[in-house]
C-alpha cells in the first residue's frame, strides 16, 4: 500500500500527473489513492518531488 505523509506533501498534485493508472485523485487539500486501480508501480513514490508518498513500512523509521 502507498501512503501519504501530509507533513511533507505540498498539495501540488503532481502525483496525479505522474500516475500511469490515473489512480490518484484530489478532492480537497491532499491527494488520495484509489486502491482498486493502483498497481503499486511506485512511479508516484519515486516521482514525488519531496518524497511524501511512500510504500507502507518503507523508510518509516528513518530519521
Amino acid at each position: 500500500m502507498i501512503i501519504l505523509d501530509k507533513e511533507l506533501c505540498t498539495g501540488c498534485s503532481g502525483c496525479m500527473m505522474l500516475c500511469p493508472q490515473f489512480a490518484i485523485y484530489q478532492i480537497d487539500e491532499y491527494p488520495m489513492i484509489d486502491k482498486s486501480t493502483c498497481t503499486l508501480c511506485g512511479v508516484c513514490v519515486s516521482g514525488c518531488p519531496v518524497g511524501a508518498l511512500k510504500f507502507l513500512g518503507d523508510g518509516m523509521n528513518k530519521e
Binding site: T10, C12, S13, F22
Partner: protein
Amino acid sequence: MSANKIYDLVVIGGGPGGGSCAYYAAKNGAKVCLVERRKILGVPLSCAEGISKSGLESCFQPRPNWIATNVSGAHLHAPSGIKITIHHPDAGYILERKIMERDIVGLSALAGAEIMTQTTAIDFIYNGKTFEGIIAVHRNKRIELCAKYVALACGTDNRLLNKLGLNPYIPPDDMIVSAEYVVGGIPVDEGYPEFFLGNEIAPGGYAWVFPKGNGLANVGIGVGFERLNGKLAVDFLNKFIHEHYRTRYEIIERITGVVPVCGPLKHLVHKNVMLIGDAGRVCDPFSGGGIANALLSGKLAGEAVAKALSGEDLKIYENNFFALKGRELEVHRIARKILITLSDKELNELGAIVDELYGGKTFSAIDSIEFLKEIFLKHPRILLLARKLIPALFK
C-alpha cells in the same frame, strides 16, 4: 446558482488558463461558471513565476502588484561554471502569481462569470453524443452543472482527461519533476534570472534562481523523471544550493510540481470540450514555462466559445492556437530532446557558442527558433542531431 440553469460554458480550474478562458468567454457575452477545487485561489503555488513580457501582455495588461521584478536579461551557467550574460531589457517578469491568479479570476467575475471555489469536478454528464456538463463535489455535496461547452483547465487531473476518452498517459521521460524554495539570503542579480545546466546539477532539466525582489528569490530545480536515479527532486535542490551558495539563507516557502514536456496534445478540442494549459500539455517543452501558453490557450478558447455560440465551429480554438504556437512548441519539444542527450562537455561547447553569439550583448528581441537554429548550426554533432530531428527548423 439555480438547479436547472444551463451555462454556455463551465470552466474546470481557476489557474491562469481557466481564469483567462472564463474572462474572455464572459467578456464576449457567454454565461460562464468557473469551478475551482482549492479554497484559496493561487494556493498552493506550483510555479517558478517567470514569464515573457509578450506572453503576459498578449492576454492581460499586468497590474503593478502582479509583478515581483522586471527581467532585463539572464545569466546562463554552463556545467563548467562559465557564466554567460545576455542583456534583454523588458524581456519579462517574475510574477507574484498568487495575486495574478486571484485577480484574473476576479476579472472574469467582474465580466459576469460565476465562481465556485471548493468545487472539484469528478465526471462529465455525457448523453452518448456530446458532453452536457459536469458532475462535481461542492463542499462535500454532489452537484451537476449543465453547460453547452466545457473547458478543461484542470492542470494535473489526468482522470478527467481519461473520462473524456483521451489517453492522458505521459511517457516518464517527458515529465519534469520540480522542487523550489522561496528563500531569503541567497545573493541575486536583480533583473537577471539565472539558469544552471548540467547532468550533475539537474539531469534532463535545469536549476534556476529567479529574483523576487526585497532580497527574496525562487530557487528551484527540474529533473527528468527517468533521471532521478533513486533520488528526490528536493535532494537535487538541496545539493545545488549547498554547492553554489555558502551564505546563510532561510527557506520561507516550499513549492513543488510536475511539468509535462511532451508537447501539446494533437487535438485541443474534443467534441464540445476544450483542453487548456497543462491539461492540453501546451506548456513550453523547452523551458517548462506554462503560464504564457495557459493564458493564451484560455483566451483563444474563451473567444472561440463566444463565436461558437453564434454558430461557428469550436475547432477555431485549436486552429488559432496551433497557428500561433504549433511550430514553436514542436521545435522546442525536439530541442529539449536534443539537449538532454548532450554530455556536460557538449553543453560546455554549446555554452561557448552562446557566449560567442550572445554573451554580453544587448537584444531587444530574441526569437527562440532562430536562437536554437543559430547555436545548433555552430556545433557539428548537435547540428547532425538537429538536422535529423527538426526538419521544421531548417524549412
